[in-house]
Amino acid sequence: MKFHWFHLMPYPELPETFKDDHRSVWVDVPSSLFDPKVGHRAYNDYLDELEYADSVGFDGICVNEHHQNAYGLMPSPNLIAAALARRTKNAKLVVMGNSVALYDPPTRVAEEMAMLDCMSGGRLVAGFPVGTPMDTVFAYGKSPATLREKYYEGVKLILRAWEEPEPFAFNGKHTQLRYVNVWPRPIQKPHPPVWIPGGGSVETWDWCVDNEFLYANLSYFGYIAGQKVNDGFWATVDKAGKERNPYRCGFLQFIACAENDAEAERLYSEAATYFYSRCLHVYPGFGNPPGYTSIPTMRAGIESMVARSTRRQDVENLTWKEMIDRGYVVAGSPESIVQQLDHLTDKMHVGHLMVLCQYGNMSKETTLYNTTRFAKEVIPKLRHKFSEYEDKWWPKDTLDSIAEPAPLATIV
């Protein structure tokens, strides 16, 4: 198995009364709530945490893209990944990813990701999410009626731009370019592995299986709620007659690792409550605009994670016990967590586990404690799992020797 340390980069100082005073953490949350000095500290703490995850042996460190919100402060995950490229050595940079439909032309994404792959020595994993409706149709004004076709076309263009050695013309429905000729080019050939974060759209399963992309089920609601989505994905794999290789699939899980259950509650319950009651306080109307969810997905009765998060009664007043019982947070001693994750990864059949060891307003100190115990006491027990499968969704061309940043004093 592989383990990835995922940062959402929440704004950590939303007021206590936030959910009573504001209708949404996303789209129209007043930017006057953002204190840039808090932002300075948060970004630097968060970078420290991601770099620490590299140093304690996580396989990947994950960043993602969101706009106009206090849930996650990365409008540009590429900026964060660029900073990480210099101060990390081993962990792959899992950019989860760039919302392709937001960029005109989408070759901008191909360029920046190629830069990241070069800077990091071939450590990039290229994630291409459609993007939440809050980010794409509300914050960035893209029509939900055409968002997905623009996204599909953009991803095709990016992959072709990486693969073709000569300039070509692209006459698309949403992008027309006379000269596509991306400089720089990625180290990885033909291109970095492609991961698709999904929230339960049925067409995404087919798309991933047909194109050999990894499908990452990003759930805030644990494996019990996420099971239906994974079952649908694996049924699609079976139908296509492809190998049930667990490395085709990723899953995101909140972790609260401590000495025992009582310490986990003491250390992590406030931060988890902050996440579920403030970071997920999305106005329901922003969660599922017409056209964002396809008719087949509506018919399949699969509710997207975003839509689900807007059912406020389900998320905003959770007790710690409920978060545990429902599997939203996997908590307890390392032994208990090993057992729970062993069960989870069996049920979900996932080889790539993304963990959230920081969430809500969790301090750096607590985050590093959670991360350390997980890295030292959980990962080694599960590392061997699925070793009979080949991971074909992982960087293979990473350079043997990665350039070190020169010490500043020696430059002069």
């Binding site: 055409t146 605009p289 509506m298």
Partner: protein, 262 residues
């Protein structure tokens, strides 16, 4: 009662077109909810008119939208349809999104419309009183926002239920989502797609009707339409919302008929 038929144009495009009634022809372009055969407003108009009511592209099949990239291509599609139906210099009555299409047809192809009645029209934007972002509301709340007269809303639901049987709630939500998806294609994120510039091209005589209590398109948009259509007759109906023709069916039908007869 309307009857529907599927027709296919020379260009291969499929349309579903409802029709009913006898008298001078009137083209009806529906609003956000599509067309029901039991539509009471059309029943009122059918008493003195031959009503022809095409279902807007996307409402029955979203794939119909694939080849219609923008409002101009939509206007071209309607032009092809009107050719097929042999309609020129006709009376066009549109509601909401349908009124936007009606205005666009009349602006793109001035000879198509002789009379144009726009009921709660979408299509303009004024920073001082923005159109409400109904798409940022849960589906079932959108419906209730559109009605000022809730008794009229319940009466229409009962009428439909009598005519078509009790609704399947899941399918009803899917139908709402599908229709609104088609609307977003031409109105997202702001419904100003250039109609303001094109209004002076309209050669038809125009009646605009607004609901004084419309919480989607504020009645003040009457002023914006009047600026581009200085000869239009403009009326605002008190005590009605966006569902004007269904909230005051007889009164609005009488106003439209009087205008068409003038």
């Amino acid at each position: 009662m309307l009857t529907g038929e599927n027709i296919k144009l020379k260009n291969g495009r499929a349309w579903r077109v409802y029709s009913g009634g006898t008298g001078p022809t009137l083209l009806w372009l529906h609003g956000l909810g599509g067309i029901a055969a039991s539509d009471p407003f059309l029943a009122a108009l059918e008493r003195n008119h031959r009503v022809i009511a095409p279902l807007a592209p996307g409402f029955s099949d979203l794939a119909e939208l694939d080849e219609i990239g923008n409002i101009h291509e939509l206007a071209l599609d309607y032009d092809d349809l009107l050719d097929h139906l042999g309609l020129e210099g006709t009376a066009i009555v549109g509601h909401s999104f349908g009124a936007m299409i009606a205005a666009e047809i009349a602006a793109h192809f001035p000879r198509r419309a002789k009379k144009l009645a726009l009921l709660n029209p979408v299509g303009l934007w004024n920073d001082a009183y923005p159109v409400t972002d109904i798409f940022a509301e849960p589906y079932l709340q959108i419906e209730s926002m559109l009605w000022h007269d809730k008794e009229a809303r319940d009466a229409l639901a009962a009428r439909r239920s009598n005519a078509e049987g009790p609704p399947n709630e899941a399918e009803r939500i899917i139908a709402i989502a599908q229709g609104l998806t088609a609307v977003t294609k031409f109105t997202w994120p702001i419904p100003d797609k250039g109609l303001k510039k094109r209004l002076p091209r309209i050669a038809a005589s125009v009646l605009t009707l607004f609901g004084a209590e419309d919480s989607f398109i504020p009645a003040r948009y009457a002023e914006d339409f009047a600026k581009g259509l200085p000869h239009a007759k403009t009326l605002t109906i008190k005590g009605t919302g966006h569902m004007l023709p269904y909230e005051k069916t007889e009164e609005v039908a009488a106003l439209v008929e009087k205008f068409l007869a003038s």
